[in-house]
């Protein structure tokens, strides 16, 4: 299998080819595109290289079996969900706890950007964002501003603020989520 040869074919087209002739070759090409990401996801949850490799193989097998049974619309979100659920199951087996499982619907549709949802013009959106950013706590405001407006990397932000990389990431992620909530509230109020 030479994945480079098929680089121009989209995930959806590869899946359509597979559904048309049921040739596993298409699944091979598709799954190979995600091997590294799947390995990373499994490493994040299982924190063990051998377990992670093992899990990627099992995710592949599961994906091959499931794709023969039903059609998948958003492959990338779906395979992420399969891998994450597999790891959560493994963790449950290890710890004897039942983790919250994801389902396809929660991940299938990519989150719609707020600007598209509300059909607001750019100026109104900018006004709302400027107000919203002031409502973030200091840490989030500082990290969001440095990351999105000053275009600094995580490392640079960590050096400038004295926060750890993990804190920087978390302030950016939480800040972004809070911004969305505040912007939605401001838009509704107007």
């Amino acid at each position: 299998m030479h994945p480079d040869r098929y680089q121009h074919i989209s995930d959806t087209a590869l899946l359509e080819n597979f559904y048309a002739d049921k040739d596993n070759l298409w699944l091979g090409i598709l799954l190979q595109r995600y091997t590294m990401l799947l390995l990373g996801v499994c490493m994040k949850y299982l924190k063990n290289e051998e377990d992670a490799k093992d899990s990627v193989q099992q995710v592949f097998l599961k994906a091959i079996a499931e794709l023969h049974k039903y059609k998948v619309a958003y492959f990338k979100s779906w395979i992420y969900m399969v891998a994450k659920n597999h790891c959560l199951m493994k963790l449950r087996d290890r710890q004897g706890k039942a983790p919250a499982m994801l389902n396809e619907q929660t991940l299938a549709v990519e989150e719609e950007p707020l600007s598209a949802q509300s059909h607001l013009d750019k100026d109104r959106m900018l006004d709302a964002m400027s107000l919203a950013i002031e409502e973030l706590n200091n840490e989030q405001k500082q990290c969001v501003t440095l990351f999105y407006l000053d275009k600094k990397s995580y490392t640079q932000i960590a050096e400038m603020t004295g926060y750890s990389m993990m804190q920087v990431k978390s302030y950016i992620q939480n800040g972004k989520r809070n911004l969305k909530i505040v912007v939605e509230r401001i838009i509704k109020q107007k």
Binding site: M1, P113, D127, K151
Partner: protein
């Protein structure tokens, strides 16, 4: 007003290729390139989880080896499945051919008998 504010909630997410990801993990990218990758990570949970996990691999050089090994195994498994499928198909096909030959033979025999019967009748 800074127009980059709009980028915060834009959710535009381009795919990062494996090489770029490896360069990011190995610290080979400039600060500007790092920021570009991180912008994608902030918009994409799958990619973000993957990077956090790959950062836990002790020797980053192993990542490519693991990926190659996993891809080789995947290829082998898919080939084995294909051969099994073909083997299952062959006996089925043999029965189909045998049935066609039998039906044809019966049709020819019936036709010959009818012809013979008519010939005898004419005599």
């Amino acid at each position: 007003m800074n127009k980059d504010l709009l980028n915060i909630l834009s959710n535009s997410s381009k795919d990062i290729d494996n090489q770029q990801l490896m360069d990011y993990l190995s610290g080979k990218l400039s600060e500007d390139e790092k920021h570009q990758v991180e912008m994608q990570l902030a918009n994409n949970d799958f990619m973000n989880d993957a990077v956090e996990g790959l950062e836990n691999v002790k020797d980053k050089k192993d990542i490519n080896l693991f990926v190659e090994q996993l891809n080789r195994d995947l290829h082998k498994k898919l080939l084995r499945k294909k051969h099994k499928k073909q083997k299952r198909k062959l006996p089925q096909q043999r029965w189909v051919y045998a049935a066609i030959i039998l039906i044809l033979a019966l049709l020819i025999a019936t036709w010959l008998m009818i012809v013979k019967y008519h010939a005898l009748k004419l005599k």
